[in-house]
Every structure is written in structure tokens, then in C-alpha cells.
């Protein structure tokens, strides 16, 4: 037992030291994506493809909220350098994976299949818990640029938007506003509330 434990510890230490050396060698400051900074309008089909991620992030999200999310990502493409290209590449990646695995457009897939596609694209971002530097090194070396673009511009971006609007608050923590308490009883905040 002692020998096996020693071997495990040695292998673990070597992997960590190796990872640190690689991270130092490539001087990782974060996974740079260097996208064209052009801004412009996102077409309807790509907008729909991306907004269909909303139901993956928040099942049963209503149409009105999805339309609002579309308004936000359209504004991002018009106002934020890199977002038009980042979101377009993300839409292409979703459709590319869908075609490969299901021979369909992403938007036509069932919810379960959509989830499987997104799971395929994403990776375990907590592989090196507690070390951003190691994670960045790992991601830069082993995760394709397209997948990293998808994570930043589509997945993380939309997750932030969906859970920052009223429907996200309501569905996740059962509050009616984001944040806040319903106006008819503004002082009701002193009581507990059924979450979940």
C-alpha cells in the first residue's frame, strides 16, 4: 500500500510540476482568441440558432424572454468588437456538430440532443481546480480555438444574460423580480420564500 501511495503521489507531483512548467513556458495570460473586431448585424438564422441555447440553459424559458435575449445579442454584435464574429463562429460550430452527429441543423434537434451537442463542445473547466494559470495553459494547448470561442461568446455570455433577466431569477431562486420583491407587497422581503 505504501509503495502504491508513493507512486500515486510521485505521478501527481510530476504532472503538476510539468503543468506549471508548460504554463510558464508558453507564458499563458489567458486563452487569447483574437477575433476580427468588425461589428454588424447578426442574421436571423444565426440569431435563432444561438437563442435556442436559452432552453438548454433554462428549460421551459418563455418566448418573450428568448426574444429579449435575441435583442441583447443583436445589440452586442452591433456594439461590441469581436462579438459578431464570435457569435457567428459559435453558430457554425453548433450546426457543424449537429450535422456530424445528427445530420440536422442545431435548431431542429430535440432538447436532449441539443444538450448532448453542447456537452460535446464544452469541456471540464475545473480540471485544475484553483489554478487559473494551469487551466488556461491546458485550454490553450488542448481545446480548439472554435470551442473556446463558443464557450466565451455563446455559452458563458448567454448564461449570464438568461440568469440576469427576471425569468432567470424567477426560475432559479423563485423571486419575481431581478432583484426585488413584487410591488404589491414590497415589505414581504422579511419572510422566507419557497425556493425550488
Amino acid at each position: 500500500m505504501k509503495r502504491r501511495r508513493f507512486l500515486y503521489l510521485s505521478a501527481g507531483s510530476a504532472a503538476t510540476l510539468g503543468g506549471l512548467a508548460v504554463a510558464k513556458f508558453i507564458d499563458v495570460r489567458g486563452p487569447l482568441l483574437r477575433l476580427p473586431l468588425t461589428m454588424g448585424a447578426l442574421n436571423k438564422q444565426d440569431t435563432r440558432t444561438l437563442s435556442s441555447l436559452c432552453e438548454i440553459l433554462l428549460p421551459d424559458i418563455d418566448n418573450q424572454s428568448v426574444q429579449f435575449v435575441e435583442t441583447v445579442i443583436k445589440a452586442q454584435c452591433l456594439q461590441r468588437p469581436g462579438y459578431l464574429q464570435g457569435l457567428l463562429l459559435s453558430s457554425n460550430l453548433l450546426n457543424g456538430y449537429s450535422a456530424k452527429h445528427n445530420n440536422q441543423l442545431f435548431i431542429s434537434l430535440s432538447l436532449d440532443n441539443k444538450i448532448n451537442i453542447v456537452k460535446d463542445i464544452l469541456w471540464d473547466r475545473k480540471l485544475f481546480l484553483g489554478s487559473t494559470r494551469l487551466n488556461h495553459a491546458y485550454e490553450k494547448l488542448l481545446i480548439s480555438k472554435a470551442r473556446r470561442i463558443f464557450y466565451k461568446y455563446a455559452y458563458r455570455n448567454l448564461a449570464t444574460i438568461v440568469y440576469d433577466i427576471p425569468i432567470g431569477w424567477k426560475r432559479s431562486v423563485n423571486y419575481n423580480q431581478s432583484p426585488g420583491y413584487p410591488a404589491p407587497d414590497p415589505f414581504g422581503y422579511e419572510n422566507s420564500i419557497n425556493i425550488g
Binding site: 441583447v72 423580480q177 432583484p179 426585488g180
Partner: protein, 535 residues
């Protein structure tokens, strides 16, 4: 007012100090002009302004607060002290001034806050006592509408009741009551300039939750200085000139102020005459303007024969700690905290350790959007479940502490860096002394004991000492013209027709929020100005 008419009063700055004085003087018949460097967001535009900020924050994945400067070249500043002081994070230039982005806490200083030198041999005594200001505290609470309960055993006496009852305790704050009581720490309600019922044509709080997160109340349940600007305008004795940055205060050969030179947003310069001038441009800009207003009569800057303009700049410092807790605390359902303890604001050994104000945080921990953003790749209903399981399980306690006046902390001019109008930038020289660091450490010990008592595991502390955006000092009041800038009535010692209002005149900073004291002092000064100049 005709173009050639010389108004009675020119008020520089439309924050709570300038707005209250302008209103009181105009209501008594004085002709008043208000010059404000910032823009005017009208009441009807507030909701759309809030929605615009919220939408832009979604687009930019940021959390930008309201009232941030739209004119950075105008608001340039530099630092020269050992501490990096991010001035523009702590101020705003807009009609209503800093009460547009304040948290609304409207609490009185205590009797001992005015007599630190007499009681402990530290700091200095004010030239007025709590009893001198007490009636004006009551008027200020009535004017701005303060909701509070007389349940704070550590506050000083009061002769008038609060205009409205206090906000009830949030679920989070109630959760802390028992453990704090076991520790012998008394929690009490927080007086807020925020309506708990319809009052003075303003609705009660509807819990938008945006007062502390985005620093804007869209329905004006929370008080802001523009409310008294509008009341002043309604007297028909007031002219408001927004987007008007005062560059110089001009004096005659006798040393009296005759006019100010101001620039509009395009840089075009104008002159505004008046009989009496009230400088209420906040602790940084008031000092800066006086230092810039040199003349043959005042070679070191206006009202600066003492050499103390800009000196004794003070803040409130803070620290906090937080940690995970197994219980659900239901945070973010309102925008503010509802329980504080002033038990440590006036310690017996205040000469060694300063006062500490403890507040329980009703809005601690990551929001759903942050949990979603930082999740390790969970999808579908699992993501909602993950957020539900992780949301609301953070407890946090905040400690605000006093900073003693120190002549080495000051606002000066940086002649090498010019603003949009070619004027020298304000230079902040801020340092944190041993007294303040010891007080912060004591504050940490108190909040740690509270967090441990409620069952927090692995307490995480704020890494650096923070500032509370409470600028004070720089034009301190006093009876001795050699040791102060203004007298007890806030008239400049050196200038007959210049008054300086606001927290710049504070001798010491106390432990609690300064706004109600600013308001009370302004009302007191306005009464004096009316008596002396308008008779």
C-alpha cells in the same frame, strides 16, 4: 430674472447641501442661481434611464452603475499618496450631486463625534456641539423624509420623532439577531432617506432593488438632492444652469467675491455675478476651486490665508468578511441592508481604537447570473438546480470605521495634468495611518465573531482596506481663522460674502454616514445667510 439682474445668491453645486440651501433661501424670497457641472436627468426620465443602464449592462456583461461620468476629460484626477484613491468611483457630477448615487443611510452623528479632542485628546473639536445641530437634524429628517425607529441605544438624544417608521428587518438580518444577541451585540434598524409610505408626493419603496446595485431609485422613493432643486425651482426664484463647470471665483480689490467664471459643456466661458456665493461642490471640488481661484488679494487661493484649504481630507474606511453557510438567507430581495449595530461607534478607548459601525449585508454572495457564468458546464434543468442549491448561502458582515483628520491627507492641484477646460486636475494625497489600521483590525475581529456565531465556515476577508465614498474635511470649520477655513456658520473666515457648505467643512468624520449632517449644517447655514444678508 432679467439678464442684467444680479441675483442675491449664487450656489455652486446642486447636491444636497446646495439644493437645500437654495430651496430655503429662495422660499424666503431670495433670487438664486444654481450652477451645476453635471447634467439634469428629469424625474420622468429616470425609469427609462434605469432600463437603459440595465440593458447596456446585459449587452456589455458588466455592472456599471448609474450616474457615471459622461465627460471623463472634465473629471480627470491624480494621486500622490501611498493609497490609490479612485476618486471617480466615489463621486458623480449631476443635478442632485452625490445623493443620486448614495445608499440613503440618513443617520445623525453622536454627541461625542463633535468633541474628540476634549474627550480623548485626538482629532479636534468642532466649533459647534450636537445640541447646536440637533434641531436642524430634525428639520433635515423632515425635509428629506427619513424612515427610522428610535431603537438605537447608541444614538444621541433627539427632540423630534422620525417622519416615517423604519424598514422592517430583512430575512437575512433577522437571521443574525439571535446569534448577535448571544454575543451581546445589539442590532437595530437603519434610518434611511427612503419612504416607507407615500409622503411628500413620493411613493413608498417598491423594492426595485436598484438603489445599491445600480445606484438609482427609478421612482424616487429614495431621496436625492434634485428633489430640493425642483422644490427650489417651483418658487420661481431660482435659475438652474446645468452642465456649467465653475473654473474660477473672481474677487474685487476688497477681497469680496463678485462673480464666478464657468464653462458650458462646449468649453464656452461665461460669467455669473451675485451678491453672496455658496460653494457646495463637495470636499474635493470645493477645495480645488478655492485653490484655483488665486488673485493678487489671495495668492495662495481664495479663503486660504490659513493654508488649510484642501488639508485634512478624510474618508470612512471599511472591511468586510463573508463565508458559506448551510442556511438559505434569501438575499437580493431589496436593495439595502436593514440592520446595523452602532455599539462599537464610540469605544471607551477611542484614543487607541476608532469607532466601528457594523452592518449585516442583505445581499451577499453570487447572483444567479454569476453562478451560471462560472458554473463548470452544467446544462438543462441541472443548471437551474445548481443555481438554486448554491444561491443564497453566503453570509457577510461589513465594518465601517472612522479616519482621523491628518494634515498629510489632502486635496491639492496637479499643475502638470489639465482637465478638459485647461484647469489643473485635483490631486488626492491619501494615506492610511496606524490608528485606522488598528481600527480595521478590531472591526475584523468583531465581524469574524458574528460570522462564526451564525455558523460560517472558512471566513474570507476583504483583502484591502476600502473607502466608502464619503469625502470630508478640506475646508474645516473652526473659531480660529489660523486653524480653520470657515467659521461655525460656514462663512469663509477670509471672505465676507462666501459660504462653504457640505462635508468639506467637517472637522472630524465620525463613524457613520455624513449626509444627514451635511443637510443639517446646510439648513443651519441657510438660516444664518438669510438673517445676515437678506434682512
Amino acid at each position: 430674472m432679467s439678464k442684467d439682474h444680479i441675483p442675491d445668491i449664487c450656489v455652486i453645486g446642486s447636491g444636497i447641501a446646495g439644493a437645500l440651501a437654495a430651496y430655503k433661501l429662495a422660499a424666503q424670497g431670495s433670487q438664486v442661481v444654481i450652477l451645476e457641472a453635471g447634467r439634469y436627468v428629469k424625474p420622468a426620465e429616470r425609469m427609462s434611464y434605469l432600463r437603459e443602464i440595465q440593458f447596456n449592462n446585459l449587452v456589455n456583461n458588466k455592472h456599471t452603475k448609474a450616474w457615471r461620468s459622461d465627460f471623463r476629460e472634465r473629471d480627470i484626477f491624480t494621486n500622490s499618496g501611498s493609497v490609490e484613491y479612485q476618486l471617480n468611483s466615489f463621486r458623480t457630477k449631476v443635478v442632485g450631486g452625490c445623493t443620486q448615487h448614495w445608499g440613503g443611510v440618513a443617520v445623525r452623528y453622536t454627541e461625542s463625534d463633535f468633541t474628540l479632542r476634549s474627550n480623548w485628546g485626538i482629532g479636534d473639536d468642532w466649533p459647534i456641539k450636537y445640541s447646536d445641530l440637533e434641531p436642524y437634524y430634525g428639520i433635515a429628517e423632515w425635509e428629506i423624509g427619513v424612515s427610522g425607529n428610535d431603537d438605537n441605544p447608541f444614538s444621541s438624544w433627539r427632540s423630534t420623532p422620525f417622519p416615517m417608521p423604519a424598514f422592517p428587518y430583512s430575512f437575512t438580518d433577522k437571521f443574525f439577531m439571535g446569534p448577535c444577541a448571544k454575543l451581546g451585540i445589539k442590532l437595530h434598524t437603519v434610518p434611511y432617506a427612503r419612504n416607507t409610505k407615500f409622503r411628500a408626493n413620493r411613493p413608498s419603496c417598491q423594492a426595485f432593488g436598484t438603489c445599491s446595485s445600480l445606484r438609482i431609485c427609478p421612482i424616487r422613493a429614495q431621496y436625492s438632492g434634485d428633489i430640493h432643486v425642483e422644490k427650489a425651482l417651483a418658487t420661481n426664484n431660482v435659475t438652474l444652469k446645468s452642465n456649467s463647470s465653475v473654473l474660477h471665483i473672481n474677487t474685487d480689490e476688497r477681497g469680496n467675491v463678485i462673480s464666478v467664471t464657468f464653462a458650458d459643456k462646449n468649453g464656452n466661458q461665461h460669467e455669473q455675478k451675485a451678491k453672496v456665493f455658496i460653494l457646495a461642490a463637495h470636499a474635493v471640488e470645493s477645495a480645488r476651486l478655492l485653490l484655483m481661484s488665486t488673485s493678487s488679494h489671495y495668492p495662495n487661493g481664495l479663503a486660504n490665508n490659513s493654508g488649510l484649504v484642501g488639508k485634512y481630507f478624510m474618508e470612512h474606511l471599511h472591511t468586510w468578511a463573508r463565508g458559506k453557510i448551510s442556511e438559505q438567507l434569501y438575499p437580493y430581495r431589496i436593495g439595502f441592508h436593514t440592520a446595523e449595530s452602532h455599539q462599537f461607534t464610540n469605544p471607551d478607548n477611542r484614543d487607541d481604537i476608532g469607532g466601528i459601525k457594523i452592518s449585516i449585508q442583505s445581499n451577499a454572495g453570487q447572483k444567479p447570473s454569476n453562478l451560471a457564468k462560472n458554473n463548470p458546464g452544467i446544462l438543462g434543468s441541472g443548471l437551474s438546480n445548481y443555481i438554486r442549491d448554491n444561491f443564497g448561502h453566503t453570509a457577510s458582515v461589513f465594518a465601517q470605521v472612522e479616519q482621523l483628520p491628518d494634515i498629510n491627507n489632502y486635496v491639492g492641484l496637479d499643475d502638470k495634468i489639465k482637465d478638459a477646460f485647461g484647469m489643473p486636475a485635483p490631486c488626492i494625497n491619501m494615506n492610511i495611518g496606524e490608528y485606522e489600521r488598528n481600527t480595521i483590525n478590531k472591526g475584523k475581529a468583531v465581524i469574524s465573531s458574528i460570522l462564526e456565531a451564525v455558523g460560517v465556515r472558512d471566513i474570507e476577508y476583504k483583502s484591502e482596506i476600502g473607502f466608502d465614498a464619503h469625502h470630508m474635511g478640506t475646508c474645516r470649520m473652526g473659531n480660529d481663522p489660523e486653524k480653520s477655513v470657515v467659521d461655525a456658520n460656514l462663512k469663509a473666515h477670509d471672505v465676507n460674502n462666501l459660504y462653504i457648505l457640505g462635508s468639506s467643512t467637517f472637522v472630524t468624520g465620525g463613524v457613520t454616514h455624513p449626509t444627514l449632517t451635511i443637510a443639517a449644517l446646510s439648513l443651519r447655514a441657510a438660516e444664518h445667510i438669510a438673517k445676515k444678508n437678506m434682512a
